[in-house]
Amino acid sequence: MNKVVANAAEACKGIQDGMTLMVGGFGLCGIPESSIAELVKLGVKDITCISNNAGVDDFGLGLLLQGKQIKKMISSYVGENDEFERQMLSGELQVELIPQGTLAERCRATGAGIPAFYTPAGFGTEVAEGKETREFSGKMHVLEKAFDPDFAIVKAWKGDTNGNLIFKATARNFNPMMAMAGKITIAEVEELVPAGHLDPNAIHTAGIFVQRIFQGEGYEKRIEQLTVRTKN
Protein backbone atom coordinates (compact mmCIF):
# COMPACT_ATOMS: atom_id res chain seq x y z
CA MET A 1 0.00 0.00 0.00
CA ASN A 2 2.25 2.74 -1.25
CA LYS A 3 1.64 6.08 0.46
CA VAL A 4 4.72 7.87 -0.81
CA VAL A 5 4.46 11.36 -2.27
CA ALA A 6 7.38 13.25 -3.75
CA ASN A 7 7.70 16.09 -1.28
CA ALA A 8 5.97 18.51 1.06
CA ALA A 9 4.24 20.25 -1.84
CA GLU A 10 2.61 17.01 -2.95
CA ALA A 11 1.81 16.09 0.62
CA CYS A 12 0.07 19.37 1.40
CA LYS A 13 -2.17 19.33 -1.68
CA GLY A 14 -5.74 20.09 -0.74
CA ILE A 15 -4.97 22.10 2.37
CA GLN A 16 -7.15 25.17 2.05
CA ASP A 17 -8.05 28.40 3.80
CA GLY A 18 -10.22 27.87 6.85
CA MET A 19 -9.28 24.27 7.46
CA THR A 20 -8.53 22.66 10.80
CA LEU A 21 -5.05 21.16 11.05
CA MET A 22 -3.49 19.04 13.76
CA VAL A 23 0.25 19.54 13.95
CA GLY A 24 2.47 17.17 15.94
CA GLY A 25 5.30 18.08 18.27
CA PHE A 26 5.99 19.27 21.80
CA GLY A 27 7.69 22.65 21.81
CA LEU A 28 10.07 22.45 18.86
CA CYS A 29 10.63 18.72 19.43
CA GLY A 30 9.19 16.41 16.79
CA ILE A 31 7.56 19.10 14.66
CA PRO A 32 6.96 18.62 10.92
CA GLU A 33 9.43 21.24 9.74
CA SER A 34 9.13 20.55 6.03
CA SER A 35 5.34 20.69 6.00
CA ILE A 36 5.27 23.88 8.05
CA ALA A 37 7.65 25.48 5.54
CA GLU A 38 5.30 24.37 2.78
CA LEU A 39 2.27 25.86 4.54
CA VAL A 40 4.15 29.17 4.77
CA LYS A 41 4.85 28.95 1.05
CA LEU A 42 1.23 28.08 0.24
CA GLY A 43 0.06 31.00 2.32
CA VAL A 44 -3.13 29.26 3.40
CA LYS A 45 -5.07 31.49 5.79
CA ASP A 46 -7.62 31.26 8.59
CA ILE A 47 -6.26 28.00 9.84
CA THR A 48 -7.52 26.48 13.06
CA CYS A 49 -4.46 24.78 14.46
CA ILE A 50 -4.56 22.02 17.08
CA SER A 51 -1.05 21.67 18.45
CA ASN A 52 0.28 21.41 21.98
CA ASN A 53 2.36 24.57 21.58
CA ALA A 54 2.70 27.44 19.14
CA GLY A 55 6.41 27.36 18.35
CA VAL A 56 8.73 30.29 18.92
CA ASP A 57 8.77 33.60 17.08
CA ASP A 58 10.88 32.47 14.15
CA PHE A 59 10.46 28.70 14.13
CA GLY A 60 7.81 26.03 14.17
CA LEU A 61 4.24 27.27 14.10
CA GLY A 62 5.62 30.73 14.90
CA LEU A 63 6.35 30.96 11.17
CA LEU A 64 2.64 30.62 10.40
CA LEU A 65 1.81 33.19 13.05
CA GLN A 66 4.23 35.66 11.46
CA GLY A 67 2.26 35.39 8.24
CA LYS A 68 -1.02 35.72 10.16
CA GLN A 69 -2.11 32.42 8.68
CA ILE A 70 -3.60 31.10 11.92
CA LYS A 71 -7.08 32.17 12.98
CA LYS A 72 -7.28 30.03 16.09
CA MET A 73 -4.85 28.02 18.20
CA ILE A 74 -6.00 25.07 20.30
CA SER A 75 -3.12 24.26 22.64
CA SER A 76 -2.16 23.50 26.21
CA TYR A 77 0.71 25.97 26.49
CA VAL A 78 1.63 28.89 24.26
CA GLY A 79 4.50 30.72 25.96
CA GLU A 80 7.82 31.62 24.38
CA ASN A 81 6.30 33.58 21.51
CA ASP A 82 6.06 37.39 21.37
CA GLU A 83 4.17 37.58 18.09
CA PHE A 84 1.65 35.11 19.45
CA GLU A 85 1.13 37.31 22.50
CA ARG A 86 0.72 40.42 20.36
CA GLN A 87 -1.89 38.81 18.09
CA MET A 88 -3.75 37.30 21.01
CA LEU A 89 -3.91 40.53 22.99
CA SER A 90 -4.98 42.49 19.91
CA GLY A 91 -7.76 40.00 19.29
CA GLU A 92 -6.44 38.96 15.87
CA LEU A 93 -5.86 35.43 17.12
CA GLN A 94 -8.32 33.23 18.98
CA VAL A 95 -6.87 30.90 21.57
CA GLU A 96 -8.45 27.88 23.23
CA LEU A 97 -6.40 26.41 26.06
CA ILE A 98 -6.91 22.76 26.97
CA PRO A 99 -5.24 20.62 29.64
CA GLN A 100 -2.42 18.69 28.00
CA GLY A 101 -3.71 15.24 28.93
CA THR A 102 -7.18 16.13 27.73
CA LEU A 103 -5.69 17.39 24.46
CA ALA A 104 -3.79 14.11 23.98
CA GLU A 105 -6.80 11.98 24.85
CA ARG A 106 -9.12 14.01 22.60
CA CYS A 107 -6.70 13.48 19.71
CA ARG A 108 -6.67 9.75 20.39
CA ALA A 109 -10.46 9.65 20.74
CA THR A 110 -10.81 11.38 17.38
CA GLY A 111 -8.87 8.66 15.62
CA ALA A 112 -10.33 5.84 17.67
CA GLY A 113 -14.02 6.49 16.98
CA ILE A 114 -14.69 7.49 20.58
CA PRO A 115 -16.91 10.60 20.33
CA ALA A 116 -16.59 11.54 24.00
CA PHE A 117 -15.08 10.47 27.33
CA TYR A 118 -14.92 11.59 30.93
CA THR A 119 -11.77 12.95 32.56
CA PRO A 120 -11.16 14.48 36.00
CA ALA A 121 -8.89 17.17 34.52
CA GLY A 122 -10.27 20.69 34.75
CA PHE A 123 -13.25 19.96 36.96
CA GLY A 124 -14.14 23.05 38.97
CA THR A 125 -12.07 25.31 36.70
CA GLU A 126 -13.00 27.51 33.76
CA VAL A 127 -12.04 24.62 31.45
CA ALA A 128 -15.21 22.83 32.60
CA GLU A 129 -17.49 25.81 32.01
CA GLY A 130 -20.39 24.88 29.76
CA LYS A 131 -19.40 21.23 29.80
CA GLU A 132 -21.24 18.33 31.35
CA THR A 133 -19.82 17.11 34.61
CA ARG A 134 -20.53 13.87 36.37
CA GLU A 135 -19.52 11.81 39.36
CA PHE A 136 -17.89 8.42 38.99
CA SER A 137 -16.68 6.56 42.11
CA GLY A 138 -17.11 9.65 44.23
CA LYS A 139 -15.02 11.90 42.01
CA MET A 140 -16.21 14.57 39.60
CA HIS A 141 -15.34 14.37 35.92
CA VAL A 142 -15.81 16.49 32.81
CA LEU A 143 -17.18 15.21 29.50
CA GLU A 144 -14.70 15.93 26.72
CA LYS A 145 -15.29 15.39 23.01
CA ALA A 146 -13.33 14.31 19.95
CA PHE A 147 -12.01 16.85 17.44
CA ASP A 148 -12.83 17.01 13.75
CA PRO A 149 -9.65 18.00 11.92
CA ASP A 150 -9.27 18.04 8.14
CA PHE A 151 -5.58 17.21 8.04
CA ALA A 152 -3.10 15.91 10.58
CA ILE A 153 0.58 16.61 9.97
CA VAL A 154 3.12 14.58 11.90
CA LYS A 155 6.85 14.07 11.97
CA ALA A 156 8.54 10.69 12.49
CA TRP A 157 12.10 9.47 12.64
CA LYS A 158 11.73 6.54 10.25
CA GLY A 159 8.89 5.54 8.02
CA ASP A 160 8.28 2.97 5.33
CA THR A 161 6.47 3.20 2.02
CA ASN A 162 3.35 1.67 3.63
CA GLY A 163 3.17 4.64 5.98
CA ASN A 164 4.36 2.76 9.08
CA LEU A 165 6.16 5.11 11.46
CA ILE A 166 8.78 4.95 14.20
CA PHE A 167 9.43 8.00 16.38
CA LYS A 168 12.60 8.81 18.29
CA ALA A 169 12.74 9.41 22.05
CA THR A 170 10.53 12.29 23.24
CA ALA A 171 9.97 13.48 19.67
CA ARG A 172 7.09 10.98 19.74
CA ASN A 173 4.81 13.09 22.00
CA PHE A 174 1.54 14.03 20.22
CA ASN A 175 2.50 12.64 16.82
CA PRO A 176 1.00 9.12 17.12
CA MET A 177 -2.43 10.28 18.31
CA MET A 178 -2.62 13.04 15.75
CA ALA A 179 -1.64 10.58 13.03
CA MET A 180 -4.74 8.57 13.98
CA ALA A 181 -6.98 11.62 13.89
CA GLY A 182 -6.57 13.21 10.47
CA LYS A 183 -9.12 12.67 7.71
CA ILE A 184 -5.93 12.91 5.71
CA THR A 185 -2.72 12.34 7.63
CA ILE A 186 0.58 13.58 6.28
CA ALA A 187 3.73 12.06 7.74
CA GLU A 188 7.15 13.49 7.07
CA VAL A 189 10.11 11.37 8.10
CA GLU A 190 13.84 11.76 8.42
CA GLU A 191 14.42 8.44 6.73
CA LEU A 192 12.05 6.70 4.34
CA VAL A 193 12.65 2.98 3.76
CA PRO A 194 10.91 0.32 1.65
CA ALA A 195 8.07 -1.64 3.25
CA GLY A 196 9.52 -4.59 5.10
CA HIS A 197 12.58 -2.73 6.37
CA LEU A 198 11.03 -1.80 9.72
CA ASP A 199 10.52 -4.39 12.45
CA PRO A 200 6.72 -4.95 12.48
CA ASN A 201 6.96 -5.34 16.26
CA ALA A 202 8.63 -1.96 16.77
CA ILE A 203 6.36 0.28 14.70
CA HIS A 204 4.62 3.00 16.71
CA THR A 205 2.05 4.13 14.15
CA ALA A 206 0.49 1.67 11.70
CA GLY A 207 0.41 2.74 8.07
CA ILE A 208 -3.39 2.49 8.02
CA PHE A 209 -3.48 5.86 9.76
CA VAL A 210 -1.21 7.58 7.22
CA GLN A 211 -2.37 8.70 3.77
CA ARG A 212 0.77 10.48 2.53
CA ILE A 213 4.39 10.04 3.50
CA PHE A 214 7.58 11.73 2.32
CA GLN A 215 11.16 12.17 3.38
CA GLY A 216 11.69 15.72 4.62
CA GLU A 217 14.78 17.79 4.00
CA GLY A 218 17.26 19.83 5.97
CA TYR A 219 15.92 19.24 9.45
CA GLU A 220 17.12 21.98 11.72
CA LYS A 221 15.75 20.42 14.94
CA ARG A 222 16.24 23.56 16.91
CA ILE A 223 16.70 23.20 20.67
CA GLU A 224 14.47 25.50 22.70
CA GLN A 225 16.23 25.24 26.07
CA LEU A 226 19.77 24.00 25.82
CA THR A 227 20.75 22.71 29.25
CA VAL A 228 24.03 20.91 29.76
CA ARG A 229 26.45 19.76 32.43
CA THR A 230 30.15 20.30 32.09
CA LYS A 231 32.45 17.34 32.60
CA ASN A 232 34.19 17.90 35.94
Binding site: P99, Q100, G101, A104, A121, G122, R172, I223, V228
Partner: protein, 225 residues
Protein backbone atom coordinates in the same frame (compact mmCIF):
# COMPACT_ATOMS: atom_id res chain seq x y z
CA UNK B 1 15.80 31.39 58.94
CA UNK B 2 13.54 31.07 55.96
CA UNK B 3 14.60 28.44 53.44
CA UNK B 4 15.80 29.25 49.96
CA UNK B 5 14.53 27.36 46.95
CA UNK B 6 17.08 24.62 47.41
CA UNK B 7 16.02 24.22 51.02
CA UNK B 8 12.40 23.80 50.00
CA UNK B 9 13.43 21.19 47.46
CA UNK B 10 15.59 19.42 50.02
CA UNK B 11 12.72 19.23 52.51
CA UNK B 12 10.35 17.91 49.86
CA UNK B 13 12.90 15.24 48.92
CA UNK B 14 12.43 13.81 52.42
CA UNK B 15 8.88 12.87 51.36
CA UNK B 16 10.16 10.55 48.60
CA UNK B 17 9.74 6.83 49.17
CA UNK B 18 11.62 3.97 47.60
CA UNK B 19 10.07 2.75 44.38
CA UNK B 20 8.02 5.84 43.65
CA UNK B 21 7.45 7.33 40.23
CA UNK B 22 7.55 11.10 40.54
CA UNK B 23 6.55 14.01 38.33
CA UNK B 24 8.36 17.26 39.08
CA UNK B 25 7.02 20.55 37.78
CA UNK B 26 9.06 23.46 36.52
CA UNK B 27 10.94 25.70 39.00
CA UNK B 28 11.56 24.67 42.61
CA UNK B 29 10.13 21.14 42.04
CA UNK B 30 12.86 20.42 39.47
CA UNK B 31 15.45 20.94 42.21
CA UNK B 32 14.02 18.05 44.24
CA UNK B 33 15.90 15.64 41.95
CA UNK B 34 19.16 16.96 43.43
CA UNK B 35 18.29 15.77 46.96
CA UNK B 36 17.16 12.16 46.67
CA UNK B 37 17.84 10.54 50.06
CA UNK B 38 20.45 7.80 50.21
CA UNK B 39 19.14 4.29 49.71
CA UNK B 40 16.03 5.40 47.92
CA UNK B 41 15.35 4.76 44.28
CA UNK B 42 12.79 6.87 42.47
CA UNK B 43 12.11 7.32 38.79
CA UNK B 44 11.17 10.64 37.24
CA UNK B 45 8.39 10.94 34.73
CA UNK B 46 8.23 13.88 32.37
CA UNK B 47 4.80 14.23 30.83
CA UNK B 48 6.10 14.85 27.32
CA UNK B 49 6.99 11.18 27.17
CA UNK B 50 9.82 9.75 29.25
CA UNK B 51 10.06 7.67 32.37
CA UNK B 52 13.55 7.37 33.82
CA UNK B 53 14.67 10.92 33.12
CA UNK B 54 18.35 11.50 33.88
CA UNK B 55 20.46 14.63 34.43
CA UNK B 56 21.29 17.24 31.79
CA UNK B 57 23.58 15.96 29.04
CA UNK B 58 27.25 16.81 28.91
CA UNK B 59 28.05 19.69 26.64
CA UNK B 60 27.98 18.59 23.03
CA UNK B 61 25.98 15.44 23.82
CA UNK B 62 22.57 17.10 23.79
CA UNK B 63 19.89 15.57 21.54
CA UNK B 64 17.10 17.78 20.20
CA UNK B 65 14.80 14.74 20.28
CA UNK B 66 15.29 14.20 24.00
CA UNK B 67 13.79 16.91 26.18
CA UNK B 68 11.70 17.26 29.33
CA UNK B 69 8.37 19.00 29.78
CA UNK B 70 10.25 22.26 30.35
CA UNK B 71 11.75 21.80 26.87
CA UNK B 72 15.21 21.38 28.39
CA UNK B 73 17.65 18.89 26.92
CA UNK B 74 17.99 15.87 29.19
CA UNK B 75 19.38 12.34 29.26
CA UNK B 76 17.74 8.96 29.84
CA UNK B 77 18.73 6.59 32.65
CA UNK B 78 19.33 2.89 32.04
CA UNK B 79 15.97 1.18 31.82
CA UNK B 80 14.22 4.35 30.66
CA UNK B 81 11.24 4.20 28.33
CA UNK B 82 9.67 6.63 25.85
CA UNK B 83 5.97 6.87 25.13
CA UNK B 84 3.39 9.14 23.52
CA UNK B 85 1.45 11.91 25.24
CA UNK B 86 -1.77 9.89 25.56
CA UNK B 87 0.09 7.08 27.35
CA UNK B 88 1.90 9.64 29.48
CA UNK B 89 -1.33 11.11 30.78
CA UNK B 90 -2.80 7.62 31.12
CA UNK B 91 -0.01 7.11 33.68
CA UNK B 92 -0.93 10.37 35.40
CA UNK B 93 -4.74 10.10 35.36
CA UNK B 94 -4.54 6.38 36.15
CA UNK B 95 -2.64 7.16 39.36
CA UNK B 96 0.46 5.24 38.36
CA UNK B 97 2.62 8.24 39.32
CA UNK B 98 2.92 8.25 43.12
CA UNK B 99 3.92 11.86 43.66
CA UNK B 100 3.49 15.14 41.87
CA UNK B 101 5.41 18.19 43.02
CA UNK B 102 4.43 21.51 41.53
CA UNK B 103 4.51 25.22 42.11
CA UNK B 104 1.52 27.44 42.82
CA UNK B 105 0.49 31.07 42.89
CA UNK B 106 -2.19 30.41 45.50
CA UNK B 107 -3.49 27.49 47.57
CA UNK B 108 -6.74 27.65 49.52
CA UNK B 109 -7.39 26.09 52.92
CA UNK B 110 -9.64 23.58 51.11
CA UNK B 111 -6.80 22.41 48.92
CA UNK B 112 -7.78 24.36 45.82
CA UNK B 113 -4.83 25.44 43.72
CA UNK B 114 -4.29 28.29 41.27
CA UNK B 115 -1.12 28.28 39.23
CA UNK B 116 -1.85 28.95 35.60
CA UNK B 117 -3.57 32.24 34.94
CA UNK B 118 -3.53 35.84 36.09
CA UNK B 119 -6.45 37.79 34.61
CA UNK B 120 -5.23 40.74 32.60
CA UNK B 121 -1.82 39.22 32.06
CA UNK B 122 -0.73 37.10 29.14
CA UNK B 123 -2.01 33.57 29.68
CA UNK B 124 0.44 30.92 28.58
CA UNK B 125 -1.72 27.91 29.37
CA UNK B 126 -2.08 25.18 31.92
CA UNK B 127 0.08 22.61 30.13
CA UNK B 128 -0.27 19.37 32.04
CA UNK B 129 -0.98 20.97 35.43
CA UNK B 130 -4.76 20.46 35.41
CA UNK B 131 -4.39 16.78 34.57
CA UNK B 132 -1.73 16.36 37.24
CA UNK B 133 -3.64 18.02 40.09
CA UNK B 134 -6.97 16.41 39.19
CA UNK B 135 -5.44 12.94 39.11
CA UNK B 136 -2.69 12.51 41.65
CA UNK B 137 -3.54 11.28 45.13
CA UNK B 138 -0.33 12.75 46.42
CA UNK B 139 0.39 16.34 45.47
CA UNK B 140 2.96 18.51 47.19
CA UNK B 141 3.00 22.20 46.41
CA UNK B 142 6.42 23.84 46.52
CA UNK B 143 6.25 27.62 46.81
CA UNK B 144 7.16 30.74 48.72
CA UNK B 145 4.81 31.37 51.62
CA UNK B 146 4.12 34.92 50.44
CA UNK B 147 4.45 36.61 47.08
CA UNK B 148 6.99 39.31 46.24
CA UNK B 149 4.71 41.96 47.69
CA UNK B 150 4.56 40.05 50.98
CA UNK B 151 0.99 38.91 50.42
CA UNK B 152 0.06 35.42 51.63
CA UNK B 153 -0.27 32.64 49.07
CA UNK B 154 -2.09 30.39 51.58
CA UNK B 155 -5.60 31.73 51.41
CA UNK B 156 -9.15 31.16 52.58
CA UNK B 157 -10.23 31.14 48.97
CA UNK B 158 -8.12 31.39 45.84
CA UNK B 159 -8.61 34.71 44.06
CA UNK B 160 -7.07 33.56 40.78
CA UNK B 161 -8.69 31.16 38.31
CA UNK B 162 -8.34 27.63 39.64
CA UNK B 163 -6.16 24.85 38.31
CA UNK B 164 -7.83 22.22 40.47
CA UNK B 165 -10.30 21.82 43.29
CA UNK B 166 -9.59 20.26 46.70
CA UNK B 167 -6.52 18.42 45.49
CA UNK B 168 -3.54 19.74 47.45
CA UNK B 169 -2.65 17.67 50.53
CA UNK B 170 0.74 19.09 51.51
CA UNK B 171 2.58 22.38 51.07
CA UNK B 172 6.26 23.08 51.63
CA UNK B 173 7.17 26.76 51.69
CA UNK B 174 10.23 28.75 52.65
CA UNK B 175 8.72 28.99 56.13
CA UNK B 176 6.86 25.79 56.87
CA UNK B 177 5.51 22.35 56.06
CA UNK B 178 1.73 22.34 56.15
CA UNK B 179 -0.95 19.69 55.60
CA UNK B 180 -4.30 20.66 54.16
CA UNK B 181 -6.89 19.22 56.55
CA UNK B 182 -9.82 17.24 55.14
CA UNK B 183 -12.20 19.61 56.94
CA UNK B 184 -10.28 22.66 55.65
CA UNK B 185 -7.40 24.60 57.11
CA UNK B 186 -3.62 24.48 57.00
CA UNK B 187 -2.15 22.35 59.73
CA UNK B 188 1.31 23.59 60.66
CA UNK B 189 3.52 20.48 60.73
CA UNK B 190 7.02 21.90 60.75
CA UNK B 191 8.72 25.29 60.91
CA UNK B 192 11.80 26.28 58.92
CA UNK B 193 14.81 26.38 61.23
CA UNK B 194 14.54 29.39 63.51
CA UNK B 195 11.23 30.61 62.10
CA UNK B 196 8.58 31.35 64.78
CA UNK B 197 4.95 30.28 64.58
CA UNK B 198 3.98 33.95 64.74
CA UNK B 199 5.98 34.73 61.60
CA UNK B 200 4.17 31.96 59.77
CA UNK B 201 0.80 33.05 61.13
CA UNK B 202 1.49 36.58 59.92
CA UNK B 203 1.73 35.52 56.28
CA UNK B 204 -0.98 32.83 56.33
CA UNK B 205 -4.32 34.33 55.36
CA UNK B 206 -6.21 31.03 55.51
CA UNK B 207 -6.97 29.24 58.74
CA UNK B 208 -3.72 28.05 60.33
CA UNK B 209 -4.08 25.14 62.72
CA UNK B 210 -1.33 24.98 65.34
CA UNK B 211 -1.39 22.06 67.76
CA UNK B 212 1.14 21.81 70.57
CA UNK B 213 4.78 22.37 69.88
CA UNK B 214 5.55 22.58 66.21
CA UNK B 215 8.95 21.01 65.48
CA UNK B 216 11.59 22.50 63.26
CA UNK B 217 12.42 20.85 59.96
CA UNK B 218 15.37 18.50 60.20
CA UNK B 219 18.07 18.54 57.57
CA UNK B 220 21.39 16.88 57.13
CA UNK B 221 20.38 13.31 57.90
CA UNK B 222 19.88 12.58 54.25
CA UNK B 223 22.80 13.02 51.89
CA UNK B 224 22.80 14.81 48.61
CA UNK B 225 22.97 12.37 45.73
Amino acid sequence: MALDKNGIAQRIAQELRDGWYVNLGIGIPTLVANYIPEGIEVEFQSENGILGMGPFPFEGEEDADLINAGKQTITAMEGAVYFDSATSFAMIRGKHVQLTVLGAMEVSEKGDIANWKIPGKMVKGMGGAMDLVASADNIIVAMMHANKKGKSKLLKECTLPLTGVGCVKKIVTNLAVLDVLPEGGFKLCERAPGVMVEEIQAVTEGRLVVEGDVPEMQFGLESVS
